[in-house]
């Protein structure tokens, strides 16, 4: 479950995009109660508080309209950042045939925003029983499943999104990213291909899709194809490094050198670019220079495995056996941590309710020097067991060392429950993105 194209994928942005609620027209002149209700929903989706309030006030005050009014008031509370009140209002519409789907969906959305994954998943499942074509429910199901590491289920939901939105590149992009995280490169390639066929050209997202796709092809050692795809991505350091890797494997050493050097201009001590350049330097007999280069990289990123391994190789080639063994030992420790992480990650796929498993993932990611990923897993653990004192204690300990990640697991106690796209994934990057 290892992925190395940090920065290439913007999962959070993607989810935020997927989760965009498309606005419709506002409250028009009411025709009937149901029309008023639907106009109110559209106003809520558009964030038009005044129109929403107008619709609510236009509804009759009889019992028949109570569920409709409650759901609209729920939306009003959402706009006012009052999720608990919103939930109470939505609950009043949870039995009426006209409002139950919306009521349960909004409750699920609020639960997801509060990182109450189990509750949100259960609510979305029920919504989908009533309406299997509810796009947003599938989207949020995918997001919630992703957040807790339930990758197969996330992909299942994305397949539904693809069914309902066949021309949209985003669910394919997300599927490809998830599959690649799980090193299912063959499946990922297929999803990248679909995303690539749908993504609008000449856009940053197009660059991102082609960068991810090219990375996947390099992993598959389809070097020529990778170079073709990567030519359509931006000249980002990661992309240049992938081109360098592909060209090195194709023995196009001079071109590989140029790409690696270009990557290093943009990002000095870029790990993969440095490794390629060091290997080329070694071929030219510049072993000491190659060693010095990788020592710098390893100093800056001590838990990055490939440069540690290549440094150990170079030291052995230079006859510096003891130093080589030292870095081999470190590589072994890192590899062991990564194996532990992979094992836990696989378990998380199957065990959808185990908060302790998520906590272990967070702590292992932290040991691997991946605070963003650790924060995402802490968020998942906290979301599953918000009252667990042990998890809270470790989270606080993590935060004391990494205060920048405070927002990652912050549930909106009375905050912006409407910003559903602010998932752990969105805030903190991928869960296995090394």
């Amino acid at each position: 479950m290892w992925s190395f194209c940090r920065g290439l994928r913007r999962a959070g942005l993607l989810f935020a995009a997927i989760l965009l609620v498309f606005a419709g027209v506002g409250c028009g002149r009411p025709v009937d109660v149901l029309q008023l209700y639907h106009d109110g929903l559209q106003a809520a989706a558009a964030g038009d508080r005044a129109r929403l309030l107008e619709c609510i006030e236009s509804l009759p005050s009889d019992d028949d309209a109570t569920p409709l009014r409650a759901v609209l008031r729920g939306h009003l509370h959402c706009l006012d950042n009052k999720p608990r009140l919103a939930l109470l209002e939505f609950s009043l519409g949870n039995r009426d045939a006209r409002t139950r789907e919306e009521s349960w969906f909004q409750a699920g959305r609020l639960s997801y925003a509060a990182k109450q994954y189990a509750e949100s998943l259960a609510l979305f499942r029920q919504v989908l029983v009533w309406n299997a074509d509810r796009l947003e429910a599938h989207q949020l199901m995918a997001a919630a499943c992703y957040d807790i590491g339930a990758m197969e289920q996330a992909i299942g939901s994305l397949k539904e999104v693809q069914r309902l939105r066949p021309d949209d590149f985003r669910p394919y992009h997300m599927e490809a990213s998830i599959l690649q995280d799980f090193e299912r490169f063959g499946d990922a390639e297929l999803a990248w291909r679909e995303a690539g066929a749908r993504v609008p050209g000449d856009s940053r997202t197009s660059d991102e899709v082609h960068a991810g796709w090219g990375d996947c092809l390099v992993r598959l050692r389809k070097y020529e194809a990778a170079l073709d795809v990567l030519s359509k991505a931006g000249d980002w350091p990661d992309v240049l490094a992938r081109r360098a890797q592909a060209k090195f494997a194709l023995r196009r050493f001079e071109e590989a050198r140029a790409d690696a050097a270009a990557a290093l201009v943009r990002q000095p001590r870029h790990s993969d670019a440095s490794v390629v350049l060091a290997q080329i330097e070694e071929r030219e007999g510049l072993t000491d220079a190659a060693i010095a280069r990788l020592l710098e990289v390893v100093q800056e990123s001590p838990m990055e495995l490939p440069p540690v391994l290549r440094l150990a190789d170079l030291l052995a080639a230079a006859g510096r056996v003891d130093e080589s063994l030292k870095y081999r030992g470190r590589a072994g420790e890192i590899a062991e941590l990564r194996a532990t992480f992979s094992r836990l990650h696989q378990s998380a796929v199957r065990d959808l309710t185990n908060a302790d498993l998520r906590l272990q993932l967070a702590e292992t990611a932290d040991k691997l020097g991946q605070p963003a990923m650790a924060a995402a897993w802490y968020a998942a653990a906290l979301g599953m067991a918000p009252g667990d004192a042990g998890i809270q204690e470790r989270w606080q300990s993590f935060l004391s060392r990494n205060p920048d990640y405070a927002a990652a697991a912050a549930a909106p106690a009375a905050g912006d429950a409407g910003t559903v796209g602010g998932s752990a994934a969105a805030g903190s990057g991928r869960k296995s993105d090394f």
Binding site: A107, Q245, A312, G387
Partner: protein
């Protein structure tokens, strides 16, 4: 917390309707002038081979060529795996191997093929081991005459050595249900020998390898253990459609331990696995014994499925040091474990140090580990052109050999998928022949070498030998669902050759761990006497040197495991050298 309680209360009962799914030098001077007990040279000219040094020799470039022999040369032998019953068990995925052994010492090497087994009515049974005797012109199925009758073992692998030092090569058969040891009676027949301690091998064994690891002159035995599958522990696994049964991943099963049996030299063995530090957590499929650091004590390399490969550094014949991590030979270039099947060793870059090879699963690069000395290895698949093969192959049997006699060792791998309904790479896969370009890099020359090798098949076991004694290394493979195949090397003569057969007298008779060094005026080349290697298979023990046309041998040195050295000055080309190790008194 409050929010969660609120949601649970207000929307109670909401989860009911839907669910998600988821050696002191002793210069023996054994040259071709010396005959008799110490050395004998037989010309390889029993069959015309032409003038391999002729001025008309074509260019070395892409000289490798193989011709598939037909049924008139090699009778149809199809190992069974019981797949026809439709249980789709992981047991069916391992397949069968084969072994090269000169059963009757007639100089023409014979073939043994593991018969596999059947799963009818969920009963795991075995098929007989098959003996294909080389008549000089072709192979003849003489299984019955060789005493190889019914076999209850669902068999996979073959490991050949002269375990009792009587001069005749014996054979161990591995499989599901234990191992079987067959003693060569010296009259062209085998007899099964029951050695009680061998029942301590794991229930499911894949490859095995012989080699004298404690230096007492007797061949010891390393038997790999795979996983704890049984029909009682056979969870349903499905193809991508979620409905069709397919073979399970080994990830679903616990590992079963490998076993090291030390030989007492009198037909007895003891289980020394713990004493020697053999790990119990491997899911091993391939094993190789060879002296990787040239300290005269053979080391062990184990190819594990879905986990790190093991490298055991032999500590002077007293035990193993686990060098799996420190050596760098346990993981991929990115430090992650691969799923390895076949393993091999050779000095691919002609620096005098044995390098390691592991054939891996699809989407993992085959791994070539360059020996840097001091038991340190580096993954060089990318720099050596191996990774450029792509991601499609699921590799098994692997052999290094100088197929074009140009002085460097080329490589052949047979491939085939493990699942019946793969989504990424084909079920049936072609072979691969990689030409070594002077130790610098490998290029895939399969299409040029043999159109037949491009035929997709379920390749598993692979061996090399010179069946027709023409000085060119041939290949034989065992596949699932198709007959064993013989590929006769038809490469244009690009150089000369020298074949060397070692006979240990102080070292074990089959001196695994010996290193043979051939020096010419230009280069120094080594060959390793190996135990095991490839996958489920044993190649010829005869070592093969290709020698470029513009080079002449100056000296050949044998470094025996006993610590002795034998030097042959100016060995003659295009001959087979049989070299006996000298005892102190000789």
């Amino acid at each position: 917390m409050l929010f969660a309680a609120l949601a649970a209360t207000l929307f109670a009962g909401c989860s009911a309707d839907a669910e998600t799914s988821g050696g002191d030098s002793e210069t023996g001077q054994v040259g071709q002038e010396v005959t008799g007990a110490l050395a004998e040279q037989s010309s390889g000219a029993e069959r015309p081979v032409g003038d391999l040094r002729g001025e008309e020799s074509p260019s070395l470039v892409s000289a490798i060529s193989f011709r598939r022999s037909d049924a008139a040369i090699l009778p149809d032998v199809i190992p069974d795996n019981g797949a026809r019953h439709g249980y789709a068990t992981i047991l069916e995925s391992l397949g069968s191997g084969l072994a090269v052994v000169d059963i009757d010492h007639d100089g023409c090497e014979d073939l043994l093929v593991a018969g596999g087994g059947d799963l009818e009515s969920r009963r795991i049974t075995g098929h007989p081991l098959r003996a294909l005797r080389c008549s000089g012109e072709r192979f003849v199925d003489e299984s019955s005459a060789a005493g190889l009758g019914p076999c209850s073992l669902y068999s996979h692998g073959l490991a050949v050595s002269d375990f009792n030092n009587d001069g005749f090569a014996d054979c161990l058969l591995t499989g599901y249900g234990g191992v079987r040891l067959y003693e060569n009676c010296g009259d062209g027949t085998f007899a099964e020998v029951f050695v009680p301690v061998l029942t301590e091998a794991s229930r499911w064994n894949a490859s095995a390898a012989w080699g004298d690891v404690n230096g007492d002159g007797n061949a010891d035995l390393y038997v790999t253990g795979y996983v704890d599958w049984s029909f009682e522990n056979d969870p349903p696994c499905y193809a991508a459609d979620g409905k069709t049964r397919d073979n399970c991943s080994p990830k679903l099963f616990a590992a079963v331990p490998d076993t090291l049996f030390l030989s007492g030299g009198d037909g007895t063995f003891w289980n020394a696995s713990r004493e020697w530090g053999v790990r119990e957590d491997g899911k091993a499929l391939g094993v190789l014994i060879a002296d990787l650091d040239q300290d005269r004590f053979p080391d062990v390399y184990v190819g594990n499925d879905v986990m790190m490969n093991f490298l055991y550094h032999n500590r002077g014949g007293t035990g193993f040091a686990d060098a799996s991590i420190s050596s760098g030979a346990g993981v991929s270039s990115r430090g992650s474990p691969d799923a390895s099947m076949g393993v091999e060793a050779a000095d691919f870059n002609l620096d005098g140090l044995p390098d390691l090879w592991a054939a891996n699963f699809e989407m993992e690069s085959f791994a070539l580990y360059q020996n840097q000395g001091a038991m340190l290895f580096r993954h060089v698949s990318e720099a050596s052109g191996i990774s450029a093969l792509g991601d499609q192959f699921v590799g098994w049997g692997s052999v290094f050999g100088d197929f074009d006699n140009d002085g460097d060792e080329d490589l052949s791998v047979c491939n085939g998928n493990v699942v019946q309904y793969p989504t990424h790479s084909p079920w049936l896969q072609r072979m691969v022949v990689m030409e070594n370009h002077d130790g610098e890099y490998f290029g895939d020359v399969t299409a040029a070498a043999s159109a037949d090798m491009l035929t997709p098949r379920h390749g598993r076991g692979l061996v090399s030998f010179d069946w027709n004694l023409d000085g060119r290394q041939d290949l034989a493979l065992a596949a699932i669902h198709s007959p064993a195949e013989l590929y006769e090397n038809s490469s244009a003569p690009a150089g000369n050759w020298l074949r060397v057969e070692l006979i240990g007298m102080v070292s074990a008779r089959h001196p695994v761990g010996a290193v043979v060094i051939l020096e010419t005026g230009k280069r120094r080349r080594i060959r390793l006497q190996k135990g095991g290697g490839s996958y489920l298979s044993s190649s010829s023990p005869v070592l093969h040197f290709g020698v470029p046309a513009d080079e002449q041998p100056v000296r050949l040195t044998v470094q025996w495991p006993s610590g002795k050295d034998t030097v042959v000055e100016a060995p003659r080309l295009n001959t087979l050298l049989r070299i006996l190790e000298l005892r102190d008194e000789q």
